[in-house]
């Protein structure tokens, strides 16, 4: 396995956001994490990225335990998170946003990598020197993914990438994710759009109140009544 999470616990004060979660991603695999709002999906991804402190458990990436390493070290070793809400830097230009993505890359290839992203996303290239705030929602998501790609990740985690996008853009987004994956990038995907996520993932986990409620292949989960329960149950609790 490329990523192995074992017994992961995250607490915010009295709130036990992630409870003893075990999760793994094989090289080149697409794995999805499903669950209602507040199930702990974002917290789980942030904990793997090192952006949220954990209170227990281990995170092993490519055979090395990384749970005590800071975010920068994890980014360097190949874990990138495209955060919820995209979080692009609106006061920086489009090109500067991409360069921030390459922050941990010290090699001379950065410039070529940036040009490659611009070739892939001509809409971004046309606005490379504009403030990123002028981009549309879809373009911002492309920028957020492009920015994450510049860190040369081996595992890309995406938190609700389809949020706020039109159906056509969601379609394009999932095509892009599939294409990145076909080039060998592993994907850990958190999505509200359960249907799309299960179509593209090979395996998945269902989180409810911070616990893994169900896991299995995408097909198994799609047929599993516990998936619907996880959403309905959390709604009852809320």
């Amino acid at each position: 396995m490329q990523l192995e999470v074992a017994g992961l616990d995250v607490r915010y004060g009295a709130n036990h956001a992630v409870r003893s979660v075990d999760l793994s991603v094989a090289p080149g695999e697409i794995v999805t994490v499903l669950g209602a709002n507040g199930a702990g999906k974002s917290t789980l991804l942030r904990a793997i990225a090192g952006a949220t402190p954990i209170s227990g458990g281990t995170i092993t990436f490519e055979g090395k335990q990384v749970q005590s390493r800071n975010t920068a070290t994890r980014v360097k070793s190949g874990i990138s998170l495209v955060p919820e809400g995209r979080q692009i830097f609106v006061s920086l230009t489009v090109e500067e946003n991409l360069l921030m993505g390459a922050y941990t890359q010290t090699g001379a290839t950065t410039h070529r990598d940036v040009e490659r992203i611009f070739q892939r996303f001509p809409n971004l290239a046309a606005r490379r020197h504009s403030a990123a705030s002028v981009l549309s929602g879809g373009e911002q998501q492309m920028l957020a993914i492009g920015r994450a790609m510049l860190a040369r990740p081996k595992l890309m985690m995406l938190d609700e990438p389809s949020l706020g996008l039109s159906p056509i853009l969601v379609e394009q987004l999932f095509e892009l994710i599939a294409e990145l994956n076909s080039n060998g990038l592993s994907i850990l995907l958190v999505e509200q759009n359960t249907h799309m996520a299960l179509q593209m993932a090979s395996r998945g986990y269902v989180l409810e109140l911070g616990e893994v409620k169900a896991e299995g292949t995408a097909q198994q989960l799609a047929d599993d009544p516990r998936l619907a329960e996880a959403y309905l149950g959390a709604q009852d609790a809320a």
């Binding site: 990225a49 975010t71 980014v75 990138s80 955060p83 830097f89 360069l99 921030m100 920015r147």
Partner: protein, 305 residues
């Protein structure tokens, strides 16, 4: 012609405010921390510079130094003091209590540092204003009826240099981009691999450098230093920062110049007593019309750490 002269004077005064206003805006934007020691860093550069130029190094280590090395050491002292503040207001409490800014601890302890540094200087040299002498203090250029003093020309050149250098640093360098990204969204910057804890001392070094340079400019330009010289400049620089928009470096540059111009033009048209009313009145009107300042983003300053 008098008006042109006043505009020139206003830009020079504004150039001094710019350095201090940028220092304020960097710490607010990046750390969400109103650093009260900034006026005293400005004062330290001037007073240490003056002291060295009159007495030489302490403990009789040297004869009185020239004006330039004196001020250079003054600026280094301001940087050193700024790092001391970082170590003991920011880093210590953050390490000890986690989210230090939530407790307003850096704010209060930086106020403590302000008073400690100010009273150390008062104990050493008393509260009187001191004349700072440069060999060219009385040299003037007369160009087309304008009187331009050599110190003013130097000040203008240094102010422009500060602005140019800072804008190059912020837009062209990797660390400059990281500073701006961290100022806007420290969480996202962390996800890019920026080690925010390593950026923090850089902010304090820049703070000390900018305030020190501004203090040195003040000493050269006005030929006078005092333990209280930072107070007026500090409040005006805060006004400039707010006018430009919290956390925006371009805003602080524009705001500093606007405050300097407002000040000298207000003296020109309404007399010396009108200065505070003009500057703060302008600030209030601007805040009513544009609460985020000229260049500010609404989101900046929220959700830091």
């Amino acid at each position: 012609m008098l008006l042109v002269q006043q505009v020139l004077n206003g830009l020079l005064l504004g150039g001094i405010y710019v350095g201090v206003a940028v220092a304020f805006t960097l710490t607010i934007g990046i750390l969400n921390f109103l650093n009260f020691t900034i006026p005293v860093l400005f004062m330290l550069a001037g007073m240490v510079g003056w002291s060295l130029s009159v007495y030489g190094l302490p403990f009789g280590l040297s004869d009185p130094l020239g004006w330039a090395p004196s001020l250079a050491i003054g600026i280094l002292c301001a940087i050193g003091a700024s790092l001391l503040v970082e170590r003991f207001t920011y880093r210590y409490f953050k390490a000890k209590h986690g989210d230090a800014t939530e407790h307003a601890i850096p704010l209060v302890s930086s106020l403590g540092f302000l008073l400690i540094f100010e009273y150390l200087v008062l104990i050493a040299h008393g509260s009187d204003s001191q004349a700072f002498r440069t060999p060219f203090a009385d040299l003037n250029w007369r160009v087309a009826g304008l009187i331009i003093s050599i110190p003013q020309v130097i000040s203008l050149a240094v102010s422009l240099g500060i602005v140019a250098g800072l804008s190059l640093l912020l837009t062209r360098s990797r660390i400059g981009r990281a500073l701006r990204a961290t100022a806007e969204n420290p969480d996202a910057a962390t996800l890019m691999g920026v080690e925010v804890n390593r950026i923090v001392p850089v902010v304090f070094v820049l703070t000390g450098l900018l305030c020190g340079l501004a203090g040195a400019l003040f000493a050269v330009n006005y030929g006078e230093v005092s333990p209280y010289m930072g107070d007026n400049v500090g409040t005006k620089a805060i006004a400039g920062m707010v006018i430009g928009g919290l956390g925006s470096v371009w805003g602080a540059i524009a705001g500093g110049l606007i405050v300097g111009l407002t000040e000298t033009l207000s003296i020109h048209f309404f007399g010396a007593t009108s200065v505070q009313i003009s500057v703060w009145g302008l600030l209030l009107v601007l805040l009513l019309l544009r609460p985020q300042g000229l260049f500010g983003h609404n989101a900046i300053g929220k959700g830091k750490f």
